[in-house]
């Protein structure tokens, strides 16, 4: 572990990781009760990446995510109520209930969504960065993707174009060792993902994705590089998901021991031990956090339960932009 940190900051990191963990556990429960339907990809085990990386972005920077984006949206700041309502498919959801778990959007926070086609978000991130560069705006676009995406052509095309045109893109690969049911070594000739960036002359590093402080410092360095150099940077967070790819699969592709072994390095438990070991965590503080988080979750569930369904008359609304809406992207 890196040297001890400011106590308040430590508590906040722990709290945010707990927020994600409990939120995802509630999602699992609501899914089994049939309240949440369709596909649900939980982030349990990878919390350190979102909690460590997201705060390094300014409110001006943009995020492009994947279908495992609950944690990123929470840390980016979208309130838990609209996220839960979106999982219910309610009209008060963060995308009016239209997208569900895989498609959180938040224009005000430049959160360009959950885009659920593997690798589909990378070119969009490159484009966002291109627009910033052409308009001389000192902003960065963070693009999250999984180890599965490195097999897609768009990964290689995007890294090449970002390097070729020197675009401010932060490529953030959450390598949880499995592309759905296929282990990394079974779908990559070169499993060392960070090394792939060398082919496009993009600086990169691999980081322990279970260590929130390591994630934080690496991401901060990468952000500084991109802001000053203007060109892209790639980080490979080596992390692990404790639950099935989505609700539910029988996890036939990995052993229980492997899961148990990685659980030894649970990012929340290990960080709690670190804080306690450095005298930064008092006895009842975790319990207080848990109580507050439970309340926040119950309030979010109530918000979702209270939400109404979008009326069927609005089915075709927003297929196109109504004439008078401002022509360019709404965010500007």
């Amino acid at each position: 572990m890196t040297p001890p940190i400011d106590r308040g900051h430590g508590l906040e990191l722990l709290r945010q990781m707990l927020r994600i963990r409990r939120f995802e556990e509630k999602c699992a429960e609501l899914y089994s009760l049939g309240k949440i339907r369709g596909f649900l990809h939980l982030y349990i085990g990878e919390e350190a990446v979102a909690v460590g990386a997201m705060p390094c972005l300014t409110s001006e920077d943009a995020i492009v995510g994947t279908y495992r984006e609950h944690g990123h949206a929470l840390i980016r700041g979208t309130p838990m109520g609209p996220l839960m309502a979106e999982l219910y498919g309610k009209a008060n959801g963060c995308a009016r209930g239209r997208g569900g778990s895989m498609h959180f959007f938040d224009a005000a926070r430049r959160f360009y969504g959950g885009l659920a086609i593997v690798g589909g978000g990378l070119p969009v991130a490159v484009g966002l960065a291109l627009a910033d560069k052409m308009q001389k705006r000192p902003r960065v676009t963070a693009c999250f993707f999984g180890d599965g995406a490195v097999a897609e052509g768009e990964f290689h095309e995007s890294l090449n174009l970002a390097a070729l045109w020197k675009l401010p893109v932060l490529f953030l690969c959450e390598n949880n060792l499995y592309a759905m049911g296929t282990a990394l070594a079974r779908h990559q000739s070169q499993p060392d993902i960070a090394k792939k960036a060398d082919a496009y002359a993009i600086p990169a590093e691999a980081v322990d994705g279970m260590d929130v402080l390591a994630v934080e410092s690496a991401t901060q360095q990468a952000m500084n590089f991109v802001r000053h150099d203007g060109g892209p940077y790639l980080i490979e967070y080596r992390t692990y998901r404790f639950r099935a790819h989505s609700m539910y699969d029988a996890e036939l592709y990995r052993t229980k021991d492997e899961v148990a072994q990685w659980k030894q390095r649970d990012p929340i438990a290990s960080f709690e031990r670190y804080l306690r070991g450095n005298g930064l965590l008092h006895t009842d503080e975790v319990e207080k956090m848990e109580t507050a988080i439970t309340a926040e979750i119950e309030e979010a569930v109530a918000f979702a339960e209270a939400g109404g369904w979008e009326s069927i008359e609005d089915l075709a609304r927003d297929v196109y932009t109504p004439r008078q809406a401002e022509a360019s992207g709404k965010v500007e």
Binding site: A62, V64, G93, C94, A95, R96, G97, R98, G99, H103, F105, D106, A107, Y112, G113, L115, I117, G120, L122, P123, V124, A125, V126, G127, L128, A129, L130, A131, D132, M134, Q135, T141, G153, E154, E157, S158, N160, L161, L164, W165, R317, D318, V319, Y320, T321, A325, E326, A327, S328, G329, K330, V331, E332
Partner: protein
């Protein structure tokens, strides 16, 4: 009015767009140094610089995706996919991102993106370079699809497209680039939601778009010689389709022949035929006829390619059969 070719009209439209708005930029394969495979952006690199005239690697999915991102980021990108044949690699970005994000995000984003591509057959470039797939694109809600067939439309449709808040796809039939026509000095933006009656007639409606317009007009001349007065409708826009103009014409002539260079099965001609059946069933004096390409990969040798493609003669025959 001044004389210019379809190619020069496209080029003039692009140039005016780039001059009018600094947010507009052109991105695509060989649009810069090479000046565009159809010379539609010749001289632009020197005039506008490499920031706004961007040669891209051959990564159709990513430079179309980057176009989407740039549009989200406040720019007005014009992406040139060299031909519709190469756009197949970018269909995921087009269908799952460009056409979908606004609706799926509950209306939070607009994507003001214009994508241009050449389409169609007839220059002996064989099966992989001769597709006519604009009908596929016209199937997708969330985007608009334009098929400029005249020099005026080639000159002005782009300007109108750039005013749209949502993605617009423009298909330029490769056969038309060298075609000459007349254009206003200061071209005004044209309507991009209505079809145009290119030839009035009362006996049969020839409904077509893009490159096939000129074959339909030639067929109409032949038919006139046989005392059959054909009306020729240039759809101009496949989505949204101007159903009113099509149905008005069919109600007048009571007979319809649709000309579409794509393969017949599942073609856009099939969609138009279905809409005529739904909207003008009791006005039909006979079944709607379709003149499409033979359902074969377009062959290289001229005599075979010509046999595979719709021709004025096949249109005339179709009308004769309809008249019984």
């Amino acid at each position: 009015m001044i004389k210019m070719t379809y190619r020069e009209a496209v080029r003039a439209g692009l140039r005016e767009a780039l001059q009018n708005n600094p947010h507009v930029f052109l991105m695509g394969e060989d649009v810069g140094k090479y000046g565009g495979t159809y010379a539609c952006s010749k001289g632009f690199l020197e005039e506008f610089g490499s920031e706004r005239i961007r040669d891209t690697p051959l990564s159709e999915s990513t430079f179309v995706g980057a176009g989407i991102g740039a549009a989200l980021g406040g720019m007005k990108p014009i992406v040139e996919v060299m031909t519709v044949n190469f756009s197949l690699l970018a269909l995921d970005q087009i269908v799952n991102n460009a056409a979908t994000i606004r609706h799926m995000s509950g209306g939070q984003f607009s994507i003001p993106l214009v994508v241009r591509m050449a389409t169609g057959a007839g220059r002996q470039v064989a099966a992989q370079h001769s597709h006519s797939l604009e009908g596929w694109y016209a199937h997708i809600p969330g985007i608009k699809v334009l098929t400029p067939a005249t020099v005026i439309d080639a000159r002005s449709m782009l300007l109108s497209a750039l005013k749209e808040p949502d993605p617009v796809f423009i298909f330029e039939h490769a056969y038309l680039y060298p075609m000459e026509g007349e254009v206003d000095e200061g071209a005004l933006p044209v309507d991009i939601s209505r079809a145009a009656v290119r030839r009035q007639g009362k006996d049969v409606s020839l409904i077509t778009f893009g490159g096939s317009l000129w074959k339909a007009l030639q067929a109409a001349e032949t038919l006139a010689g046989e005392g059959i007065d054909a009306e020729v409708i240039d759809l101009r826009v496949l989505r949204p389709l101007d159903q009113a103009t099509v149905l008005a014409s069919v109600k007048k002539t009571h007979r319809a022949v649709i000309i579409d260079e794509a393969w017949r099965t599942g073609s856009f001609a099939a969609e138009i035929s279905a809409q005529i059946m739904e909207g003008a069933f009791y006005d039909l004096d006979g079944p709607v006829a379709r003149v499409c390409s033979a359902e074969v990969p377009i062959p290289y040798p001229k005599h075979l390619e010509d046999a595979a493609l719709p021709q004025p003669e096949t249109i005339v025959t179709a009308v004769r059969n309809l008249k019984g």
